[in-house]
Symmetry: C4
Subunit: 249 residues, 4 copies
Amino acid sequence: MDAFDIETLADPSLESPVLVEGLPGVGHVGKLAAEHLLEEFDATLVRRIYSEHFPPQVTVEDGRTTLACAEVHAIGDADRDMLVLTGDHQAADGPGHYRITGAFLDVADEFDVERIYALGGVPTGELVDEPSVLGAATSATLVEELEGVGVEFREKEPAGGIVGVSGLLLGLGERRGFEAACLMGETSGYLVDPKSARAVLEALQEAADFEVGYEALEDRAEEMEEVVTRIRQMEQGAPTGDEDLRYIG
Amino acid sequence: MDAFDIETLADPSLESPVLVEGLPGVGHVGKLAAEHLLEEFDATLVRRIYSEHFPPQVTVEDGRTTLACAEVHAIGDADRDMLVLTGDHQAADGPGHYRITGAFLDVADEFDVERIYALGGVPTGELVDEPSVLGAATSATLVEELEGVGVEFREKEPAGGIVGVSGLLLGLGERRGFEAACLMGETSGYLVDPKSARAVLEALQEAADFEVGYEALEDRAEEMEEVVTRIRQMEQGAPTGDEDLRYIG
Amino acid sequence: MDAFDIETLADPSLESPVLVEGLPGVGHVGKLAAEHLLEEFDATLVRRIYSEHFPPQVTVEDGRTTLACAEVHAIGDADRDMLVLTGDHQAADGPGHYRITGAFLDVADEFDVERIYALGGVPTGELVDEPSVLGAATSATLVEELEGVGVEFREKEPAGGIVGVSGLLLGLGERRGFEAACLMGETSGYLVDPKSARAVLEALQEAADFEVGYEALEDRAEEMEEVVTRIRQMEQGAPTGDEDLRYIG
Amino acid sequence: MDAFDIETLADPSLESPVLVEGLPGVGHVGKLAAEHLLEEFDATLVRRIYSEHFPPQVTVEDGRTTLACAEVHAIGDADRDMLVLTGDHQAADGPGHYRITGAFLDVADEFDVERIYALGGVPTGELVDEPSVLGAATSATLVEELEGVGVEFREKEPAGGIVGVSGLLLGLGERRGFEAACLMGETSGYLVDPKSARAVLEALQEAADFEVGYEALEDRAEEMEEVVTRIRQMEQGAPTGDEDLRYIG
């Protein structure tokens, strides 16, 4: 294998698709949101991207191994054609982030993607009841457009910029002629957060002009709600039993 | 030296050999098992693989130095022809794991290897009397076949996937057309574990269809048994003398 | 993107410009000094240097993202033509420092730069009222010349040498035929230090033979003076209120 | 600069020179020994090796900067022609150690070096009055030869092998057809150790068949002896004044 190995599994024809990215990150917001799209629509796996910049490992499911990779699915039955990029890993080294993002943009080029939405979470440090969605984008026009659908733009937020593949999809994407935006749901940073993922998806569906249901995500949100309730009880000194409240992924 | 330097020491002709890998890892299970094969059979050193991705060091034995490397031995006098890959090092960096595994697969290609067995241990956190052997494989057919010889496949185990060369021999191997399986003996994770290595070899000999004796491994197992007995006494608060019970390699 | 991507935004003609570097470092002395030049003169952005050796991130301002980069501005309205190199990042890995500095020197070559001034701070560990400016240079002639304008050269200082882009602009610059000097303002190491930046600029304007005002820098110096006053009160046990005295950037 | 930049400063003709390496390491034994040779003989600087695998820094002396490098000096006025490799740095990353050593061997090739002596220290953890010199070599013949001049070879010592450039000069050197040995003086590991350096040089002069005086090294040894005396007093609970006993380099 060279530094990259892009496996082609299907090549459906899509019309002006948007690329939606949801790799692991704060609160797994982006990953939950992207995976929800794959559940709600009829998605076809079109590419697997392998790279020596991913961790050196295979995952095991039902005894079968899969080499660390990112996957791109095509969705053709929504109001808007989409490519959904998801996976279990970020790059394991700095230049690797640049190179892996470059490989993702190569795939976006193949499908004539014109706009990219990177989905993620922004940590607030405390439990959030009604998460807002913060935005960042490659152009002032796109900032305005997203403000029109309720995405918030706050001065100098997020303070540390946007790190990893999400950030580089905007930074490198712009260099390569893509319009790109990052939609970040507020989230505590301590828990997997399906509610924040839903907020992000609601903004995305407005921005990209498609409709999606939320049943699966609601079920997960309810599960997490119970965890949150127990945490609130703990904060108030109430007994909580011996449930395991570690970060759940 | 380029990034790799593969030294050819012999080129015996082998018939449909399997590649058996046993590099250092949990409980040194894979390494013990692979080295046991080299002791029991008439093994010929065929390749040494040097790489800048191994640690920058030489080992010293009887005053003579050897550059960090992995070694491939050929076994032609067993019921089944084998290549045995062993050594003292894993790669020292992430991309290095990918590249070193790629070099190993190049050697496997040269010898027309069709199946790869990566041997290793899976940590249980406690002493195991009768270690099971867990499996993972690149195809459902191979999973079934291994279940037939007593290898266990448990849902989502090992939880963290398989890391390092063992994992990549399956992951990259599959990408290059090899059938590959990983056989992992249960082991505490605290001690070198010849008993677990034997369990792994017993599964391997069934799967790859050859016979091997266990005398040398039994001797080592008995030594370790004494260590284990002392540990058990310690756990029960019995006095243990001042023996050194640190991890022994 | 390859390892580097140098974006050309303008190509003004400059006469024997000096290159002035002020990337982030101790007390942000170099960065403050370089940015002050950009404020005081009519500066044109001529190059942006992107690299996989910068951290994988974008900064966000008013919702718009900018890929990690270094910027080179041209100043044509001072007594001396200048190129000013500044940015928010150093390289993120060792070889990256060498490669990024090489890219900077490529730009210097394009503009026929003959002399390079790397600006920075040297930590003293305590608050300094009247910061001296320490120097280091690629030739004995240049050392003498700088002594003539009040730059101090102390035996074996700075003790640890000069690390990062500033050091390499001298080290690699000399290898490529540039004359180069480093001007380092004494600074505590705990606070952003506009006073030290001013001292460095005063040395630079003598050395490079141009004049510049200091109003903007004086305003920042006064703000910091208040912080310093509060710190001095703290040292004398006086109550300080609950102001946040963390490192301010 | 490419990954390497080898500067040629002189090209004297040498007869079957040996290459003597003394880079920084345990007790600075190798570096002290190599630098002593440069003081005692009439040495000519023949090569400087620069590399992006050295730390990104310049050293400063009398205001003048020098890019991180290793230096090779030629000695033509000893009983035996020598190349002496010394410097202030080891490589900063794993593959870098391999590549830098490869560059050193390129220089050895240019001068038709046939034997390499890597000098260093082996830590004992306690103060040593009469340091032995341990050896390691690329061939059994060389092991025997060195035993003949009092170098000790102990089973499985040094236990962790030999790490860094010294180890690789043997490991990679052997791969490229050089005979190479490592001479390691016993040393506490806590202090710069000129006495150990002298022991190593005494072994080297026997092995390589040349004579050298020790005055300069004796002076340094006496200085260190005083430090050692104070440490011994401390160990016996005697008052020691407030001298600084940190590792002195």
